[in-house]
Amino acid sequence: MGEEMIALDRREAVARLLARRSPDLLVVTGLGSPAYDVMAAGDDDRNFYLWGAMGGAAMVGLGLARAQPQKSVLVVTGDAEAMMGLGALATIAVQKPANLTIAVLDNGHFGETGMQASHTGMGVELDRVAASMGFGWTESISDLASVDALHNRIGARAGAGLAVLKIRAENPPRVLPPRDGVHLKNRFRAALGFPTN
């Protein structure tokens, strides 16, 4: 296999991140493929999928993490979505939420729109960006053992973290989450015990 093993399969990586899921894990996804990956790993009331608002996933995660400090919050997003909200990484770094992890699925491309090269594909390293901003921990990983270690790190709530997962540039079949934002919001809040207005 050799060279082909350098990058992760996105579906396998996300499935392992969400395997044996703790009831204390809350997940926010960026729009597009990361939402399909999380959906493919198994829908859950404690998942909030963005279908738009590009650049906003990390900030939704921050607000959730600050309102629910006893839970672990995982944002699963793509490299271009993270790049569009780059300032949000600075906002998160200075807020230092111990229970927030940003997992960036980085294929170096705008995968949803025709696989055009993206900024990370042309040299920007988001883990180093986040480290320089002051994240508690950052890493760039490309093997499954590191994904399993990341799984444990998410539950530890030991500082705001950002992990770049180097994935292969390919589009597996879409697995579509629900698109009704009101439904997604209400079921998420209900899972945490909050009422619907």
Binding site: L26, V28, F48, L50, W51, G52, A53, M54, G55, G56, A57, A58, M59, V60, G61, L62, G63, L64, A65, R66, A67, Q68, G85, G87, A88, A90, T91, V94, Q95, G181, V182, L184, K185, F188, R189, L192, G193, F194, N197
Partner: protein, 180 residues
């Protein structure tokens, strides 16, 4: 009320803003600073019951407050009118999810503006918010701030609506560009 002892006691709209936010159980104040918001920001930062979050750009606050609401808590977003332009696409989030959103916007390019670069966005602010489904109210007098903000907060959190109160330049006062 903690944190208000140093504030002028009578009809100060600047402390009214914070007082109304507290009355509506606001736990998060996200902001890009503006001089008109300085009092509310200082009080939010000093209040241990409030998470005060400085943003690099205003649209971050839309996502942040949606996340806080998913987690069961209320917040408000403070910004200048120029920042409304930065929020446009992110306003799809409260619209699609019918999230409560309370924005307090200090106006520029609105009245007695010295800097013409503020005028395009200032003149488009209320229309742009309305185009994206945000309900708006304008306060140009000090005694309008408290009731309008209370009304907006009520409709945001009781009715899952996006609501903005615009604080006019006549209320805030003419910016002094040259020392006299």
């Amino acid at each position: 009320m903690s944190g208000t002892t140093a504030i002028a006691p009578v009809a100060d709209w600047r402390s009214d803003v914070f007082r109304v936010l507290k009355r509506h159980d606001i736990r998060h104040v996200a902001y890009v600073p503006d001089a008109g918001h300085a009092a509310a920001i200082d009080m939010a930062v000093a209040d241990p019951a409030i998470q005060a979050v400085a943003l690099t750009t205003e649209e971050e606050g839309i996502g942040y407050l949606a996340g806080a609401w998913l987690g069961g808590e209320r917040g408000a977003l403070l910004m200048q009118s120029s920042g409304v332009g930065n929020c446009i696409n992110m306003l799809a989030l409260p619209a699609a999810g019918r999230f409560p959103l309370l924005m307090v916007v200090t106006m520029r390019g609105d009245w007695a503006e010295f800097n013409p670069w503020q005028n395009p966005m200032g003149q488009a602010t209320e229309k742009a918010l309305n185009l994206m489904g945000v309900l708006t109210w304008r306060a140009d007098r000090a005694d309008d701030v408290e009731p309008l903000l209370h009304g907006a907060a009520s409709m945001a959190f009781n009715g899952d609506s996006a609501c903005a109160v615009l604080l006019g330049q006549r209320l805030i006062g003419e910016k002094q560009w040259v020392k006299k």
